[in-house]
């Protein structure tokens, strides 16, 4: 199992920050997922081994955190917030718009593997609602037309 040098450097650094190695687990899982695309069996086995945990321990933690996934996602994870502040300003309509435009439902992935759509809970953009996070990028004060532009940009980046 090979991670990037940056990952390894960060991992080693982090281990020195805590009295117990296990403490690095949650952020490390997210960084590993960012590199591999999802938390594969191989990633889970590797991290369990490094931290002297059982694979079950690791899976138990993964299932608690909503950003962690053991299934592959599209290249762009389109996370539409429909929680109260976004809902009042059109968050649900944005979700419906995405479903129609991308032809997938909540947690679905387009056949070409470019987009995954996810309805998410509050992402901390309430004063700039409605908001969508594409991977880690925030897009705020959206309308369906503005969101179309964001999605079109994503496609362009794929080439």
């Amino acid at each position: 199992m090979k991670f990037s040098d940056k990952f390894e450097k960060r991992f080693t650094e982090m281990l020195a920050h805590y009295p117990t190695p296990r403490s690095v687990l949650v952020p490390t899982l997210l960084y590993a997922q960012d590199e591999v695309g999802y938390l594969s069996d191989e990633v889970i086995a590797e991290l369990a081994n490094r931290l002297s945990l059982t694979e079950l321990d690791v899976r138990n933690v993964i299932s608690y955190y909503s950003m962690l996934t053991t299934k592959p996602r599209g290249k762009f994870n389109v996370q539409v917030c429909t929680n109260i502040a976004c809902m009042l300003r059109g968050g649900e309509e944005l979700m419906e718009h995405c479903e129609q435009k991308l032809g997938i439902g909540n947690k679905g992935t387009t056949a070409d593997g470019v987009f995954t759509l996810e309805e998410v809970e509050c992402i901390g953009a309430c004063s700039w609602a409605p908001a969508v996070q594409v991977n880690y990028d925030f897009h705020e004060n959206l309308t369906p037309a503005k969101l179309d532009k964001v999605l079109d940009e994503c496609r362009k980046r794929i080439g």
């Binding site: 296990r22 138990n60 608690y64 950003m67 809902m87 009042l88 509050c122 309430c126 925030f138 004060n141």
Partner: protein, 441 residues
């Protein structure tokens, strides 16, 4: 990234350096940066604690506990190391203020953690940033590295002979982790299941050591208090509610945004003046004044003019909470709003405590059916009864946070619930065909 706004009534303390480039450590130093911690190094720990206590600073995460008092609970002597833990797991729906502090003034948080450490005798601090805020985690990582490079962190800080280390930590998506005991579990690499108290974290916290857990805004306020003094800070706010606070105005408003206003500011003015009033000539229906966990206030209650501080809000039957002010106009459906609120708590409940796990599930099932026209009269009282019986019966306040808003929705907007009965379509909007969830026995 997130747009900044301003209003003449604002009193900028925590937001003083927003938009000033203070992410850069040299710029931060020009703007009085790291002066407060140097002052703290000349003070006795009890002096710092008393100063913060007398300033009337109360926890900005939502509970509103006096910060200095919280610090004073940490035992002076401890066989195990003590820790400061900054809670940057901002996730309460309606709340987006810590985001701005991390984005514009991360060193103020670092300084706050250091001062808290000096006050309680800790040598290590952690700054926990929610997983979704990756760009902010990167800002924090750089700010910490810059502070080490200047010699402000590490051994012999500011030639005091004292050691202080700060480390960053990232989450991976969990509202419940914002609760302090769950936050510690998460930092220890586990599921964010809450711990039973007592013992409180001030006595037994991270890895069994005494731990102070403060919200990011609370900690970012501390350096200003050290420099400005307890009296100055206390006088900015209302009695027993010192200072200012970042209020996140959202929902049906002309000018939503994060505004820093004195504690005790009028909610009515906040909506009609600061927030620019309700758009499109519509009327106010209600306000959720402190994040999704608190009881809604009706338009009449808002217009009667309530002060936005911890005590006045409690008296008005709600809570100041996390500073998230969500405004609903008269086109919003309360039943649908209740449903979306409960969907959130159902999603976030860890399932450890049965009243929360089952309660949120049944409330969601009932509200889905109810909103889509399948409601029966009995549901209304059932929901109320169910929510009431969740209160105070769980390890962490997530169960209460789910129950309190539901109780208020049913109590204050019963008519709207009744208007959905007998298969009538939602009077406010489109709806999606009757759902077939069972009726509670």
């Amino acid at each position: 990234m997130a747009d900044l706004v301003s209003h003449p009534d604002e009193v900028k303390v925590v937001s003083k350096r927003f938009g000033q480039g203070a992410v850069n450590i040299d710029r931060y130093l020009e703007l009085d940066g790291y002066k407060a911690v140097q002052k703290a190094l000349t003070m006795q720990p009890d002096e710092i604690i008393n100063l913060v206590k007398n300033s009337g600073l109360r926890g900005r995460g939502g509970a509103g506990f006096n910060t200095g008092l919280k610090w004073s609970f940490v035992p002076k002597q401890s066989a195990k190391p003590k820790y400061i833990l900054c809670n940057g797991d901002e996730s309460e729906p309606g709340t987006c203020k810590d985001r701005l502090i991390f984005e514009h003034d991360p060193h103020a948080i670092i300084e706050g953690v250091m001062i808290a450490g000096l006050a309680v005798g800790a040598q290590t601090g952690y700054i926990y940033v929610r997983g979704e805020y990756r760009y902010l985690l990167e800002i924090v990582q750089k700010a910490i590295a810059d502070a080490y490079a200047k010699g402000f962190l590490g051994k012999n800080i500011f030639d005091s002979g004292k050691t202080f280390d700060i480390y960053w930590h990232g989450g991976a998506g969990a509202y419940e982790v914002g609760e302090e005991s769950a936050l510690m579990e998460s930092l220890e690499g586990k599921r964010g299941i809450p711990r039973i108290r007592p013992p409180f974290p001030a006595v037994v916290g991270l890895w069994g050591g005494p731990t102070v857990i403060n919200n990011a805004e609370t900690l970012a306020s501390v350096p200003h208090i050290l420099l400005g003094g307890a009296e100055w800070y206390a006088n900015l706010g209302s009695p027993k509610n010192g200072g200012t606070r970042l209020f996140c105005l959202s929902g049906n408003l002309n000018k939503p945004g994060v505004y820093e206003l004195p504690m005790g500011y009028s909610l009515k003015k906040m909506i009609y003046e600061v927030g620019g009033g309700i758009p499109n000539g519509r009327k106010l229906k209600g306000v959720v004044p402190g994040g999704s966990s608190v009881a809604i206030l009706t338009a009449d209650e808002v217009n009667a003019d309530v002060a936005m501080d911890f005590d006045a809000m409690l008296k008005a039957g709600s809570m100041l909470g996390s500073g998230g002010v969500v405004v609903l106009d008269d086109t919003a459906c309360i039943v649908n709003f209740a449903l979306r609120t409960i969907k959130f708590y159902k999603h976030e409940s860890c399932g450890w405590c049965i009243p929360c796990r089952e309660g949120t599930d049944w409330l969601q099932k009932t509200l889905i059916r109810f909103h889509s026209g399948g409601g029966v009269k009995k549901d209304i009282d059932n929901m109320y009864y169910l929510a009431e019986n969740m209160l105070g019966r769980t390890f962490c306040p997530l169960g209460d946070a789910a129950a309190m808003p539901v109780i208020a929705f049913v109590k204050k907007f019963r008519q709207e619930f009744e208007d959905h009965l007998d298969g009538k379509p939602c009077p406010f909007a489109k709806h999606s065909g009757a759902q077939q969830s069972p009726v509670m026995a």
